[in-house]
């Protein structure tokens, strides 16, 4: 076995995959959030549509989007492998279950992750697929994705599911961000506090930022 395959089949190597891909998704989420916030412009969706058109046609962005899909698949598959291994390494559970020494987010990363995966598949079908292959009608010479978003966000059930998924994402990040640094061994008293605080702030900002858009659009529609 080469050194690389030895590394990535080891427990620490697999966790490094989880942490590096996870941290990359945080960057992606921030860029995505900045784009989405244009939906709150009171311009009938013009700014958002032009942004969506740019994202769908720019070669670099398209390349990154396929890299993202690959990395997301990797994060999901390695996550499932680790979860299976952990369940089998534990074997029989204790009769007296203690939960006060671990966080809710940490214990439930796999379930939060699976919910995010379900959300993502539906979300891609709703918007990404429609943007690329659907007939959305035109506005100002580009596809009118904003109209589709507005229709989706006029349903309270859709908004509820969307907001719920963003809370799930926030909880996943609450553990994930700080945990990624621990896995990479990037810990030092000089910046531990900063990393922990940044993780919490990013979790809240990302969850709240994404969730507030459908809520405002629903209330305004």
């Amino acid at each position: 076995m080469s050194w690389l395959s030895k590394l990535f089949t080891s427990s620490i190597g697999r966790k490094v995959i989880m942490s590096l891909t996870g941290l990359f998704f945080v960057l992606f989420l921030l860029v995505h959030l900045l784009g989405n916030l244009q939906l709150l412009h009171a311009d009938g969706g013009k700014a958002f549509n032009h942004y969506a058109d740019f994202m769908a046609h720019n070669g670099f962005i398209q390349g990154m989007s396929w890299i993202m899909k690959f990395l997301f698949g990797l994060h999901a598959i390695v996550g499932l492998i680790l979860w299976r291994q952990n369940a089998s390494a534990k074997g029989q559970k204790y009769a007296v279950k203690v939960t006060d020494n671990t966080s809710f987010a940490g214990r439930n990363m796999i379930w939060l992750g699976i919910l995010i995966l379900v959300f993502l598949i539906l979300h891609m079908g709703d918007f990404w697929f429609q943007m690329h292959y659907g007939d959305l009608g035109e506005m100002d010479g580009v596809k009118d994705l904003a109209k589709l978003v507005a229709i989706k966000f006029s349903s309270p059930i859709y908004v509820g599911w969307y907001v719920f998924s963003m809370i799930v994402l926030g909880i996943h990040l609450w553990h994930g961000f700080e945990s990624a640094f621990q896995t990479l061994g990037a810990r030092h008293p000089k910046y531990d506090g900063f990393v922990a605080a940044l993780g919490k702030i990013l979790s809240v900002v990302i969850a709240l930022g994404f969730a507030i858009i459908p809520i405002i659009m629903y209330l305004n529609h």
Partner: protein, 249 residues
């Protein structure tokens, strides 16, 4: 004081285990192990098989007394081993549930006794220094920074009891392995073989079937010696740099 003990009985690793309930008359000055001794005395007098459990030093330094008491390895008190847990922490009439350490890599020998030789094999894979030390040296021959000494000593406090594995919902042995890697790798004599050590011990840990760390911190919370998670971070970094940068295979 009267105590209701709900205690795990299992003939061997392949047999099906079950809980057995016993009433034990103890006094508050007894340690948890002495209370179990009373239980076993009663069982013997009744012609029944005593409960198998491990113990040795009974002063908190050997790490033998492995058991999970009410869901906590070594009982609910922080930074103590089972032998240092005293019955004065319990109330008359209280029910206490006692289970063995649970992990695939710690197969049950009998009742509460588990086979922790997987830890020995991790140590054999690099948890030592293989240089000849020669004759007695002057104490100040090799200068070591005070903070580094403290870190190494804190890691060396690990008694290898396996509470970290028992507490971990993933059955991971990262805290134990990391403590053993750290206490040698931090010091000049250990640094010489640090890459070989990190690679060897982590690979053996994986091979033994321990789970993967998810940075939950249950190990640190339950460790009777308060071994810090920072050791795991240091081992991760060490393992990564050894995998990528060193010529050790």
């Amino acid at each position: 004081m009267k105590l209701n003990l709900k205690i795990w009985r299992q003939k061997n690793n392949n047999a099906k285990g079950h809980f057995e309930t016993h009433v034990v008359e103890a006094n508050e000055h007894m340690s948890f192990l002495e209370m179990l001794d009373v239980l076993n005395q009663n069982l013997l007098e009744d012609g029944k098989e005593p409960v198998a459990y491990e113990h040795d030093c009974r002063e908190g330094i050997c790490g033998a007394c492995s058991m999970v008491i009410d869901g906590h390895p070594h009982g609910p008190n922080e930074r103590t081993t089972t032998c240092q847990l005293h019955m004065r922490f319990y109330k008359d009439g209280q029910t206490i549930t006692v289970e063995p350490f649970r992990a695939k890599a710690f197969p049950i020998i009998k009742d509460l006794a588990v086979d922790r030789s997987s830890f020995d094999r991790i140590i054999q894979s690099g948890g030592f220094i293989s240089v000849n030390t020669g004759g007695p040296r002057d104490a100040n021959d090799i200068l070591i920074d005070k903070d580094t000494v403290e870190l190494a000593m804190d890691a060396a406090a690990c008694i290898g009891c396996g509470a970290c594995v028992a507490a971990c919902p993933n059955g991971a042995a990262m805290l134990f392995t990391a403590a053993k890697v750290s206490h040698l790798n931090l010091l000049p004599q250990g640094k010489l073989e640090k890459d070989k050590r990190a690679l060897g011990m982590v690979r053996q840990m994986d091979k033994e079937g321990f789970g993967n760390c998810t940075n939950l911190g249950a190990c640190e919370a339950e460790c009777p010696k308060g071994i810090s998670l920072i050791n795991i971070a240091m081992m991760n970094k060490n393992y990564l740099s050894a995998s990528i940068l060193s010529d050790k295979d």
